[in-house]
Every structure is written in structure tokens, then in C-alpha cells.
Subunit: 398 residues, 2 copies
């Protein structure tokens, strides 16, 4: 799923137009360390000017107008847009101001070193190309513990309620282990409930799994999943777009959800309440145009209400087995071939026959309301199929 | 749902072009008594020539070619079609032959009198106009015990597995009684399981309910539902297109299903196995362009597999409550208005606030990664909503 955006980013890295790779990497890390996820102004500056030049301008105290002019000079866009652009950058500068002065980045760097987290940027071999489909909402970089490139293509996001039921957990394990057995990766959010069961089933089946966190990768959240998150980091990868030390806030959870849906080829919601956070992940999948599926459950179960809402209002695909989910991710399942149904004539002829008493063609014709010739032809077919046979006294079902 | 077809039929009855109403009624009864459901050749003869003239021709031993010429003379169609038409009529004559000679119709008439069944034809005040949407597959007439015009518009078909579970029965009763309470009629097939629960719930809620049978209305089927079928005939109507005395064959069940879906404004499948007969009713509803819905259930329940198949493969609408079903039938439910979600800024500002410790706007701006002005504006809104308040030492969540 390599996008044009990704292609352009690689081009610039190779040509060196936007600075050397090392300077670029550390400048991106600086930017990723001070902005909140989804800061499209920062994204525009970094992707247009390069992280390094954008950082130089901001550090040197350039005004919003000066930065806007630098942007327009690079993109070659007309001056007509400049007023709006200056406003956006001016607000951006105010947002970043509260953080640029702090020792924020140094302490995040030290925390990353302590937990063995690496900072990936677009163009890195390990960078997941599917993330670039987020366009201007793509992260500036990703902090990773473990190996992100263990995740195969395709992968599926399995998400759902923290307050899962035995039913939802059972179905999660069935689907996740079935997908893992087919070589499909499992992406989730390491939360209690459905997420945790999806990761555990993938690990148990020796499948690849990746957890996206809302806080820093050095801060396992929820705390009760610290051990699970360690195992995911050891066997797969634990990933975040916010720096080490960052706390998981509601905003960061919502933004983290976009990374889950972007990293996976398809998203499945197994159990979700009417207002579950996993519906947000589902919305991101739909926005990205990636297949979105929901597992149905009893209508009497509040933890399936969100799934039914997705089926009803958001055109989610109804899935009930690992096979059906694999199909969404483009992996052919063992689709059952439907038995051909009986033709109308066959049904009527068989209705008119007995398995004990032989009947003549005329008798069968009268009973079925069909004409003689159709009955004779049909009996020939049923004979071949082994459903009828001829006796000296007439035809009988077999 | 009055169709052009219905309109034409009334026109002809009134004008007397196709014979007097009494002769037409008894000829239609004769035709309906000898053909199998869905005989489109008989339908063409009866609707074009009138039942009475078609009967006269067949009784007089007219050849297929003579009948075809009479048809073409009436429709004014060109002679180019005649070969095919002669073949169709010739096969029809053979089909009907086995039955025209019998005492079939007389005994059916006597059985109808004994059980109080009346024979309705298109144009009768009690004739359900929605049935005419079946076009050339419409029944020639309907035998009715009870009053068919008690059925309100809209009505909903509730169908499903004979081997229902406690879950399916519970949901059926909830939906059927909810619809009855809203004045919506319940149409079903009087079978064990879902059908029976739908009828019973409608009766218990003093709602209108109609049962369509695959055999004659004098032969309650299944026998274990004889008493239920009597109650439906007493309070609503029991209806069939095959004459009294006719046994319910597989073919007649399949054809009966088209009447269920045509009589109702929408069809809901509550529980159904992977190859359930109710999927046939669902297919008829889809063919007619009527709303088709399915109730989801546990993916671990084989009796919900057919419902999930409808959701997955046949674009059925997922319904979980009587309200949602009423909406399908065009009756506005008490649709819950979704609470507006918090804006991104509100989420981020609240993330950065404490409910115990007052914080300055600058502090909140730095913590949230937002600019000073956005935070100030947002705090104003949160203050109005009662979610934040100003103290001498700064802002706190409330």
C-alpha cells in the first residue's frame, strides 16, 4: 500500500534536498516530541521544508509570515493563500512555544534509550508504508520497541470493548488464532478485554502482533498489561507516535486509533458498547477506505450494541469466522461451495413421488400439476442424480 | 401499494369486458383450484382473456394454437411471438389436463363451505393490493378464513427457524409485541418456532395478525398449531392460494413464502439456519424491493447463521429492536438523538485540566499542546456547558 506521499518522502530523502538523513531524523524526532498527534500545520512544515529547516526557522525565532513565505517559495503556490497560512502558522507557533523551551526532548531521548525504543521516520526500511495513507494526518515518526517489520502484509486490526464478555473473548480468540494460523498479522491497542485477547491469541499461535499505545512506549498502559506488552515488544512490536514519558490522554487515545486502522489492511470490531472507543477506530478505517467489519452478537447484550450499530448505520461487513475476516484482508478462505438448489420442477416432481409406492409418469404429472413431458425429462435427471429410480410398476424416490 | 396491474384488473371488472363479476369469480376459483402456485401461463390467460373466457376455451377443447390466437387478438401483439406462445400453452394444457377432469373443485368448494372459507379475487374490497406487486406471479385468488382487511398498512412479516432458541423466541416476542403496540400488523407462516411466537405475541398484544398457509385453509399445518391457527382465523385471517383439501408440499411452501413477503411492507428474519426456508422468504422480499432485515445473534449459534448470511451476502438491514423494525415499515420510532461528541479541542483541554488543582491558561496550553487563544475560547465554552469553572488560582474541571 505504498502511497504517492511515501514515494515523495523517499525521493526527498535520497536527493538530500531537504537536508541530510541524520539531521532530518533528529529534527523529526524533535518535532514529534513537541507536537500533539494530528498537528497538520507541523506536518505541512516538516513535509514541505524538511524537519531540519523547519526546526531551524522556529529555533531562530522566525515570524509566522517568514515561515509562510518559506513554505510558499518551496511549494511554488501563489501568494493568494498567504493570509490563511500565516494565521495557521501563527497559531502553531503559539502551540509549540509552551514545549520548545523545556528539557522535554532530552528526557524523552534518555527514556527511549533506557527501554530500547528506536525512532523510525518515513523512508526507513522498517517504516510501515500503509501508515502514509493517512496523508497530512500521518505521524511525523514512530517510537518502536521490538521489530515493526515482523508484521506481515496483510494484517488485521482486532479491537473492541474493554468490558468484554466471555462470548466476545471466545470469538476474539477464534478469529485471532485463525488469522495467525493463516500468516495474517494482528494489530491492536493492548487494552483490557478484546484487545488483550487478540494479542494473546496471536502470541499463543506464534503469529505476529503489534500493539499501538496512546502514551510513550516506555509506559505500559494499562499497568495490568505490563507483562503482556513486554511479550509483544519481545515477539512483535510496541509502537507509539508520542515520545517516551508521554501520558496517554483521551486525545492521544483517539489519535492512536487512527494508527491502528492505518497499520492494518482491515479492521474488525468484535464487541463494543453503544459509545465504545473502538467505534472511533472503525470510523478511521472507513475514512481510509479500508474494509470495516463487525462481529454480531445477541441483541440482548449491551457489549454488542456498538457492533450492531456499525452493521446498521455504517455499512460494516458482518463477519463470524476467521475465514470471513481473512477474506476481507484479501486472503482466500475455504469458502464453502453452495450446493446447487433443486429446480422448481425437481421440487414439484419429488413432492408428487413416494419412496415406497411406485407411480406412473401420468400420475406424477397429475399430482405435481406438471405436463407429461416435463415430468419424464425431470425423472431422467433425478435418475442420474440418484434421487429417483424406475421400477416395473413406475417411478419411486430413492 | 396499488399497482398498475391491480388498476387494470379493476377496470376490466367494472367495464365487464372480460365477463360478469359472478362468472369471473367462479371461473377464477376453478382456475385457482387446478393450477399449482406460480403458473404464469394460467396467469397470462386469466388476466388477458378473463378467467371465464379462458375456462370456456379450455373446456371446449380449444387447441393451443386457437388459444394463442385469442390471446394475441386481445393484446394486439404481433404474430411474431406466436410459436413460443403455442408451446407455452400446449405445455400448460398438458399440465392442467390431469386435474380438469377430476371432482377436485367440487370437493374443494364443499370443504371451503364447511370451514367458512371465502374465495377472494383481485378487485374485491378485501383483496390486499400489495399482493399485486407480484405481477405475473400473483395468485389467481386467495381462500380466506377470517377477515383479511383487519391487517393494517404497514404490516411486517416476521419469519424464522422452526428450531428456534430461547433467544430467538424472546427477541421475536419483543419485536412482534412492540410492533403490535404501534399498530403495525404481523404476517407469518404459522410454523413452529419463530412464526408461532410472532403470531402469539401479536394476538396477546391485541394486534392484527395473518397466517399464510402452504396447504388448504381447512388443513391447519402443523397439526400442533391447530388451536393457534383457529385463534388467528378468529381474530385475524388464515390465507392460502391453494384450495381446501390441498396438502402442503415443498413447492407450495416455497410459493407460500412469496405471499408472505408480498403481503407485508417489510420482512424480518429473526433466527434462521444456514439453509433455512425463511431465507427463501427473504429472497422474495428482496426481489420485490421491499425492505429486508435480519436480527443478529451469537456467531456460535447455528440458528443465527442464516441471519448473518443475509447481513453479509444479501444487504439485509441489521435490526435489534421493535423501533428499528417499525422504522423499516415507515413508522418513525423514538430515534435516540445522539449526544454531540466533544470537539477535538475540548477533549484536549479537558485532558490537560485537573478536577482538584486549578491551572492557568498558559499551563493548560502547554500541557494540551494548544495555543493560548484556543484554550481561552474553549474554556469559555466548557464554562457555559458546566464542565469547567474559573477560580482565583485558575481553571478547574467541574
Amino acid at each position: 500500500m505504498s502511497s504517492q506521499h511515501d514515494h515523495d518522502a523517499r525521493e526527498r530523502d535520497v536527493s538530500g534536498d531537504v537536508g541530510s538523513t541524520d539531521a532530518e531524523r533528529s529534527a523529526r524526532e524533535w518535532w514529534a516530541g513537541i507536537v500533539e498527534p494530528g498537528d497538520s500545520t507541523a506536518h505541512a512544515l516538516v513535509s514541505t521544508l524538511g524537519a531540519s529547516r523547519a526546526l531551524d526557522l522556529v529555533s531562530a525565532g522566525a515570524t509566522a509570515a517568514e515561515i509562510a513565505e518559506a513554505l510558499l517559495a518551496t511549494t511554488g503556490a501563489g501568494a493568494g493563500e498567504i493570509t490563511n497560512l500565516v494565521d495557521l502558522i501563527s497559531t502553531g507557533l503559539q502551540r509549540w512555544e509552551g514545549r520548545t523551551g523545556s528539557a522535554h526532548n532530552d528526557s524523552a531521548r534518555r527514556a527511549a534509550d533506557r527501554c530500547g525504543a528506536r525512532f523510525l521516520i518515513p523512508g526507513d526500511a522498517e517504516w510501515p508504508a500503509s501508515i502514509d495513507d493517512l496523508g497530512e494526518h500521518a505521524p511525523l515518526g514512530l517510537w518502536v520497541r521490538g521489530q515493526l517489520d515482523v508484521l506481515p502484509d496483510p494484517s488485521v486490526a482486532i479491537v473492541g470493548s474493554r468490558n468484554s464478555t466471555g462470548y466476545g473473548e471466545h470469538v476474539t480468540v477464534e478469529i485471532a488464532s485463525g488469522l495467525a494460523a493463516r500468516g495474517i498479522g494482528i494489530v491492536s491497542g493492548a487494552a483490557y478485554g478484546i484487545d488483550g485477547h487478540a494479542h494473546r491469541a496471536a502470541l499463543a499461535s506464534r503469529g505476529a502482533t503489534v500493539a499501538l499505545l496512546a502514551g510513550g512506549v516506555d509506559r505500559p498502559y494499562p499497568r495490568g498489561h505490563s507483562e503482556l506488552i513486554e511479550r509483544i515488544a519481545a515477539d512483535g512490536a510496541v509502537v507509539s507516535e508520542v515520545p517516551c514519558g508521554a501520558t496517554p490522554t483521551k486525545w492521544r487515545f483517539l489519535q492512536r486509533n487512527r494508527l491502528i486502522s492505518a497499520l492494518a489492511s482491515a479492521t474488525v470490531v468484535v464487541e463494543a458498547g453503544w459509545r465504545s472507543g473502538s467505534l472511533n477506530t472503525a470510523a478511521h478505517a472507513a475514512t481510509l477506505g479500508r474494509p470495516l467489519a463487525a462481529v454480531p452478537g445477541p441483541v440482548t447484550s449491551p457489549t454488542s450494541a456498538g457492533c450492531h450499530r456499525l452493521l446498521r448505520e455504517h455499512d460494516a461487513i458482518c463477519v463470524t469466522t476467521a475465514d470471513e475476516v481473512a477474506e476481507l484482508a484479501g486472503v482466500g478462505g475455504d469458502a464453502e461451495l453452495l450446493q446447487p438448489l433443486r429446480s422448481a420442477t425437481e421440487t414439484r416432481v419429488l413432492d408428487a413421488m413416494s419412496s415406497r409406492r411406485p407411480r406412473t409418469i401420468d400420475d406424477i404429472a397429475a399430482r405435481s400439476g406438471l405436463d407429461h413431458d416435463s415430468v419424464r425429462a425431470c425423472l431422467g435427471e433425478l435418475d442420474v442424480l440418484g434421487d429417483a429410480r424406475h421400477t416395473p410398476n413406475g417411478w419411486i424416490m430413492s
